[in-house]
């Protein structure tokens, strides 16, 4: 999944990064495992959406909408699969597909290497992700869900802070 994603937008003046072999797959699996098991022992960790952060990071780095949305779809469907029977397959899949597409599209046009940009983009994508999930619940699944809570706002900030450090860590997986 890593080297197979070729750089398609050769016209872009922004650098397109490649990653070490297995980096994307490993990072994705680790993020999913963290999301599934860490909150069992540390409940506050559920606030962090690591699969989303992975989607955003690789989307911004790979800067290819097609690969970004496919990666987002895979991560989202896997997260759905690990979220129990109450979460239908596709709930996070749709959201992360869109986020992957948008992140790739934005990453192809903007410099997203700066921590401040990553912080801001993560907050925006987190909100957008929650909005898509909420719309899917309300419109497609007819499930009630609140639009905004302070918990979500705090989660957005926390995820953005985590994203700044996580993205810096993930930068070490890039091929030099």
């Amino acid at each position: 999944m890593n080297d197979a994603f070729d750089i398609r937008n050769m016209e872009s003046h922004i650098e397109v990064h490649k990653f070490r072999g297995g980096a994307i797959v490993g990072a994705t699996l680790l993020a999913l495992m963290f999301q599934a098991f860490v909150p069992v022992y540390f409940a506050k960790a559920a606030m962090i959406d690591l699969p989303l952060l992975i989607t955003i990071y690789f989307g911004l780095s790979r800067r290819n909408p097609s690969t970004g949305l496919l990666l987002g779809m895979i991560i989202g469907l896997l997260q759905d699969s690990l979220s129990g029977p109450t979460v239908p397959l596709g709930l996070y899949g749709i959201a992360k597909t869109v986020i992957g597409y948008l992140a790739s599209s934005i990453g192809a046009r903007l410099d997203t290497e700066h921590p401040a940009a990553r912080f801001a983009l993560t907050i925006i994508f987190f909100g957008l992700h929650q909005g898509i999930v909420l719309l899917t619940r309300r419109i497609l699944l007819a499930q009630s869900s609140v639009w905004f809570t302070m918990h979500l706002a705090a989660a957005a900030v926390v995820n953005a802070i985590v994203a700044v450090f996580l993205f810096a860590l993930l930068d070490h997986l890039r091929k030099s």
Binding site: N64, L69, L70, T97, Y101, L140, L141
Partner: protein, 323 residues
């Protein structure tokens, strides 16, 4: 996707992927009592078109039925109107027959309860042409063994008596005629007094002394003293009492519906009759009814009751049913 510009390929890919996942959602979700979400969505997506189509087709069908398929409506309407008129006439006839059947049933019951009395049913075919007299014409005459001075009754009460007889018809002087009279007595006190007509709907009882006790609502029945009507046939009910000198003025509402007679019973005998076999001693305060013409007491006929044949006497129903 070969013809799609490369920069738009990702958008189509996004749309396709999202759509696939939406379908995936729909396949999984099963709503309570509504089935799977894919079915709900499908029905929800198609039902507006189905409703619109159904509405449109219904509108077209109604338009066709109400505007284009009405070529024969006028003719059909005319035919239905004729049928409706015919049915109305038939309904009226049936209602009339039902009422007639009720009346005939009353006559039949009356005849059955007095089978020993020869009687003949007759239909009223005419009434008096003027207001100076109160008479009716029956469709039975001398050929049916009807004779002058025979009594005419209905199950409700006394009607009058035969005053003229022709071959096939006969004329009845109603109780309400001012020349009519019948031997009567009060139902409770048994005080006897003739009751006569006054040329108006109510009858008059003239010869009841002031010291006799009479009350409004009391029944007045035949006394049998006139030798025409048997005893205790209802004549009417007292509606008004006024003191007089030397007799009270008593007004009576006839029991029989004299103003709308259609079938009557002719008592085919001139002998004194007793519909009820019980004998009672009546107070002799007054005598018998006067004759319609002369005011003299009616003369009993010499022939025995059994000697007067009743037509179709073997069949009680036929005996009372007007032909």
């Amino acid at each position: 996707m070969a013809g799609i510009p490369s920069r738009h390929k990702s958008i189509f890919l996004l749309a396709g992927v999202v759509l696939l996942q939406i379908l995936l959602l729909a396949l999984q979700i099963k709503r309570d009592s509504e089935g799977r979400l894919i079915r709900v969505w499908t029905v929800g997506a198609f039902s507006p078109f189905e409703r619109a189509g159904n509405h449109g087709i219904g509108h077209l069908r109604d338009t066709w039925r109400h505007y284009f398929a009405l070529q024969n409506a006028s003719r059909e309407n005319e035919q239905l109107r004729r049928e409706n008129d015919d049915l109305k006439i038939k309904v009226t006839q049936l209602q009339s027959k039902a009422i007639e059947a009720d009346r005939l049933a009353l006559l039949l019951n009356f005849h059955k309860s007095h089978e020993s009395v020869p009687m003949l049913g007759a239909r009223v075919i005419a009434t008096s042409a003027g207001t100076a007299s109160a008479t009716i014409m029956l469709d039975r005459g001398s050929k049916d063994h009807i004779k002058k001075n025979m009594g005419v009754i209905t199950p409700e009460g006394v009607v009058g008596k035969i005053v003229e007889v022709y071959d096939n018809t006969s004329e009845v002087l109603l109780l309400t005629d001012k020349d009519s009279g019948v031997g009567a007595m009060l139902g409770n006190s048994r005080v006897q007094s003739p009751v006569g007509g006054a040329g108006e709907p109510l009858l008059v009882m003239k010869y009841v002394a002031n010291d006799d006790v009479v009350s409004v609502g009391e029944r007045v029945v035949t006394s049998g003293m006139d030798k025409i009507f048997p005893r205790d046939l209802p004549i009417g009910t007292i509606t008004d009492i006024k003191p007089g000198n030397p007799f009270k003025s008593i007004r009576i509402r006839p029991s029989a519906h004299l103003e709308r007679l259609e079938e009557v019973i002719v008592l085919l005998t001139l002998q004194p009759l007793q519909l009820n076999q019980e004998t009672e001693t009546a107070k002799p305060s007054a005598s018998v009814a006067k004759s319609p013409a002369s005011g003299t007491p009616a003369k009993p006929a010499p022939a025995p009751v059994s000697s007067i044949p009743a037509p179709n006497s073997t069949n009680a129903a036929a005996a009372v049913k007007p032909e």
